[in-house]
Symmetry: C2
């Protein structure tokens, strides 16, 4: 019998598959996570632009299992190919961001300055929850917050290179 | 009175300064840590080469406080300037690697494939503890392990760029 089909083996491995803890996740996201607000041109939307908040964690494919474990622990998001040999765990669904991601990182705060990005991100997500991104005033406010966040990201990309 | 001189304020902030946990550190090192074996040419050493194992965690200067908190929690290492706006927490002292770093990551294992690098690193450090790096055979073995680790690092650098 194929080992992967052996229910006992699956049973033994199950606890290990779920051995992530909130503190570990906070540390890992402090290091590797990215809270991003995308502003994409989209003619189907009244304002002409779509607001796309997302949390991503990118890893080399050798650690794809870790991304699946993040998804299992957080009960949301998808694991997708990123660039080259990299994969990411990504949460875009507004409902999951509001109901899972924001409460998680409010209960277990990031310890790095990335926490400032998280709070800007949370502000935008909560505005979107109330459809404020569909108003002229709300959209302009989001653009401003996104620009501040993206400036920080650009600095970080330069640092990593 | 200057706020920084207010003992009550210091008292309130103290727990926050030490709020790192082993799980958070493991997550953060899974993301940002680097176990490295340097082999440097050094004519003062009999073999002509010096073996320099080190653990480093690099951050942008905005998170230098986090590096100091790592040093405080682990009771070893130094915080030093790295490149440009980056700083690192670095542990090179063999005694601290043997007595603090190895036991810590053996008790609290890394969850990413970086754990493989850690075990190679631990092997070299324990060989050095027994002065095996001073023998021809031991030194050759260390070179081989270091080459395997550095190949992995090179792949990771390419991925980040």
């Amino acid at each position: 019998m194929d080992n992967n089909m052996n229910p006992q083996r699956l049973h033994v491995e199950y606890p290990n598959c779920n051995s992530l803890t909130p503190d570990w996740i906070v540390g890992f996201v402090d290091g590797e996570g990215c809270f991003h607000i995308g502003i994409n041109k989209n003619d189907e939307v009244k304002s002409g632009y779509q607001v796309l908040p997302e949390l991503t964690v990118v890893q080399h494919k050798r650690d794809i299992q870790l991304l699946y474990r993040l998804r299992t622990f957080m009960k949301c998001g998808v694991v997708r190919s990123n660039h080259g040999d990299r994969f990411c765990w990504r949460v875009r669904c507004l409902k999951n961001l509001v109901e899972i991601i924001l409460p998680f990182f409010e209960k277990h705060p990031l310890k790095s300055k990335k926490n400032i990005e998280f709070h800007r991100f949370a502000k935008v997500v909560r505005m979107m929850e109330k459809d404020k991104h569909l108003t002229q005033e709300g959209f302009q406010k989001i653009i401003k917050i996104a620009e501040e966040m993206n400036r920080q990201e650009q600095r970080e990309i330069r640092i990593k290179i």
